[in-house]
Amino acid sequence: MFSKLLLLIGITMMYSTPLVFGALGGVVSERSGVVNIGIEGMMTMGAFTGASVSYFTGNPWLGFLAAGVAGGLVALLHAIASVTFNADQTISGIAINLIGPGFALFFCRLLFKDATMTPPVATLPRLFGEDAFAGTPAANLNVDVTVVLGLIATVFIWFILYKTKWGLRIRSVGEHPAASDTLGINVGRTRYSCVLASGVLSGFGGASMTLAIISQFNPTAISGQGFIALAAVIFGKWTPYGAYGACLLFGLAQALTVVLGGSDSGVSIPSQILAMLPYFLTIVVLILFVGRSVAPKADGLPYEKGER
C-alpha cells in the first residue's frame, strides 16, 4: 500500500514535470497579456535541441540550457508577431505549433542522417544520484532533477510575479497596458521579455522530456503536452501555483490510470476507457471545484498606443 503510494507520487512527479514548465511558460506570457497557444511548438523545439546538444557535447546540462535558448528563439517569432506587429496572438500561436515541430524534425534529419530521432543521449541526473534507494519503494522518490527544477521554477516565477517590481510591472501590463505605459513602463519590452521567458520555460519543458524521461528525441516525444499545459494555465487561473497544481492533478490522474491499468491491479476497466480518466477527471474537477477562471484583462489584446 505504502509502496503503491510512493509509486503514485513518483509517476505523478515524472508525468507532470514537462507540463509544469510549459504551463509556467504560459502563465508568464499570458500574465503580460500575450496568449500563448504555441507552447507545444516551443516544447518540441526544446525537446529536440536539448537531446541533440546533449548528444553532441555529452553534457546534458548544456543541452538543457540550449533547449531554453531554442524555445526562446521560437518564442521570438511569436513576440515579433504579437508585440511588434500587433498580430492576432491565437493565429501566431497556432503557426508556432506548426513551425516548431516542422523545424525540429527538419533539423533532426539534417543532423542525424535523415533520421527523425536521436540516439540515446546523456541524461540529467536524478535527485539523490543514480542508485540511491535502488530496489526499495523509496526509489520512486528519487525523482529526476527536473522535477525539483520545475518546483523551483514555480516558486521562482511566483516570487518574481508577486514580490518584485518586475512582477508588478508584468502583471500591470497584462491587466492594463495603457496605465503601465503612462507610468513609463515599456509595454512592448515587458511583453517581449515575458514571451521569450515563456519560450525558454517551454523549451525546458521539452528538454525535461528528452533529457530526463526518455533520453532521446523522437517525433512523438512531445505529443499534446503543450495543449495540456495550456489547459493547466487556465485551470490554474493564470497563477504559478494554480498551474502547478493543475499539472500535478493531471499527472496524478495519469499515474492512476497506470496503477489501475495493470492486469494485476484487480480492476478490469477496458484500457481505452481507463485512458480517458485524466481528461475526464480534469473536467469533473473543473465543474466541482474550480469553475470560472478569469484571464488577465488585457490577455490576448495587442496594445496599441493611444487606442481608446
Binding site: 498580430a87 513551425i99 524534425l105 477496458p270 473536467i283 473543473l286
Partner: protein
C-alpha cells in the same frame, strides 16, 4: 499607386501575400537544406494539378477540413475558440459508424440517417463544451482539449468492442454500402459502368481511382448556409451579438447562455458532419484504431485562420490546405525533401496571416505617400 493601395486593402490580398511568404520561406529552407526549390514546387504543383484525378483527390481531401474549418470559423464569429473540432470530428465518425454498420436501409433513408447520426455525435461533443461554459463558466479551450482525447479513446473503444470489431483487423466493420455517398458507387464498378467510362480516360480515372463523393457539394452548401445563418438570420444576429459583446447582448434581452450553447452545438454539428461524410464518402468507410490524432480538426483551425473566419473563405482555404497536404507528398517523393517542409510552409502561411494585419496599414501609408506626391 492608388490602385495598388486599393488592391492591398482587400483582405484577400493580405492572404495571398501570406501564401507567397509561405512559399518564400519554404524556398529558403529548401535551399539551406540543399534541395532545389523550383523542382520542389514543381513537384508540388505537379502533385496537385497534373491529372484530373489529383485535382479530384485534392477536393476530396479538402472536404472534411473545409467543414471543420467552418466549424472553427463559425465559433470564432460567435466569440468562441473551438479547438475541439478534432474531437467533434471523431465523435461524428464514430456515431456514423455505430449507426451505419447496424442499419441497412435503402440509400435514400440510410444516407440521411447515418449522416445525421454523425452530426449528432459532433453535436453532443459541442454541446458539452457549450453547456459547461454557459452553466459553470468553464473555459471552452480546456473542455475542448480534454474532449479531443476522450474522443480518441472513445473511438478506439468502439473499434475494440465486440460487436463492431472486424476480426483480423485494427478497425470496425465498414458501414453498409447503402450509406455510401460516392457518385454512383455501384454503377461505376459494374461491368456496364466500367464499359461506359472506359472511353473517357479522365472521367474513368476520376470516377474509379478516386472516391468522388457528394461531400464537397455539402461542404460548399454548408459554407453558404453558415454565411446566411450568421449574416442574414435572426439567430445569427443573436449569436454574433453574444460573441462580440456578451454584456450588451444580455442587457438587450438576448439569452446569452443559450446562445453560447447553441454556437457550440452548431460548431460541433459541422465538425461531426465532416466526420460522417468522411465515413460515408471515402474508403475505407470505417474507423480504425487511432494511434494519434489525424488532425482533421486541427487542420480546420488553420483553415479557419487562413480564411479569416469567413465561411466562404473556408472553401478556398480548405482547398489550398488540401492541395498542400496532398501535393506535398509529391515533394518528398519526387525531390526527396522531407515532408516537414510542407508543415513549415503551412505554418509560415498561417504565421504571415497573423502578420498581414499590417498590409492594409502599409497600403494606407502607400496611399498617403501617393497623395503627398500629388500635392
Amino acid at each position: 499607386m492608388k490602385l495598388a493601395a486599393k488592391v492591398l486593402k482587400k483582405p484577400i490580398a493580405s492572404t495571398l501575400i501570406a501564401v507567397l511568404f509561405g512559399f518564400i520561406v519554404a524556398a529558403v529552407v529548401l535551399v539551406a537544406a540543399g534541395y532545389n526549390p523550383g523542382q520542389s514546387f514543381g513537384a508540388l504543383f505537379h502533385g496537385i494539378f497534373a491529372k484530373p484525378k489529383y485535382i479530384s483527390n485534392v477536393i476530396i481531401k479538402a472536404t472534411p477540413i473545409i467543414l471543420t474549418g467552418l466549424s472553427v470559423a463559425f465559433a470564432f464569429q460567435t466569440g468562441l475558440f473551438n479547438i475541439g473540432a478534432e474531437g467533434q470530428y471523431i465523435a461524428g465518425a464514430v456515431a456514423a459508424v455505430l449507426v451505419g454498420v447496424k442499419l441497412d436501409l435503402p440509400p435514400v433513408l440510410q444516407i440521411p440517417v447515418v449522416v445525421m447520426a454523425g452530426v449528432l455525435g459532433g453535436t453532443l461533443f459541442g454541446w458539452i463544451v457549450g453547456y459547461l461554459k454557459a452553466r459553470f463558466g468553464i473555459h471552452e479551450v480546456i473542455t475542448s482539449i480534454m474532449l479531443n482525447w476522450i474522443g480518441l479513446y472513445l473511438s478506439n473503444f468502439v473499434v475494440a468492442s465486440g460487436t463492431y470489431h472486424m476480426p483480423n483487423s485494427t478497425s470496425t466493420y465498414p458501414v453498409n454500402p447503402s450509406s455510401y455517398t460516392m457518385l454512383l458507387p455501384n454503377w461505376k464498378t459494374s461491368k456496364a459502368g466500367m464499359a461506359a467510362l472506359k472511353p473517357h480516360q479522365w472521367l474513368y480515372e476520376v470516377m474509379l481511382k478516386t472516391d468522388v463523393n457528394f461531400g464537397f457539394l455539402v461542404a460548399v452548401l454548408m459554407a453558404a448556409i453558415i454565411w446566411y445563418l450568421l449574416y442574414r438570420s435572426a439567430k445569427g444576429y443573436e449569436l454574433r451579438a453574444v460573441g462580440f459583446n456578451r454584456d450588451a447582448a444580455e442587457f438587450a434581452g438576448i439569452n446569452v447562455n443559450k446562445n453560447i450553447t447553441d454556437a457550440m452545438v452548431i460548431a460541433g454539428a459541422l465538425a461531426g458532419l465532416a466526420g460522417a461524410l468522411a465515413i460515408t464518402g471515402t474508403a475505407p468507410h470505417k474507423i480504425s484504431t487511432l494511434a494519434a490524432f489525424e488532425n482533421n480538426g486541427f487542420n480546420g483551425l488553420s483553415v479557419a485562420l487562413i480564411a479569416g473566419s469567413s465561411p466562404i473563405g473556408c472553401i478556398f482555404a480548405g482547398l489550398l490546405f488540401g492541395g498542400l497536404l496532398y501535393g506535398g507528398q509529391s515533394v518528398q517523393q519526387d525531390v526527396g525533401a522531407p515532408t516537414e517542409i510542407i508543415n513549415i510552409m503551412i505554418g509560415t502561411i498561417v504565421f504571415f496571416v497573423a502578420l498581414t494585419k499590417i498590409v492594409p496599414v502599409l497600403a494606407e501609408k502607400l496611399e498617403k505617400r501617393g497623395a503627398g506626391h500629388v500635392q
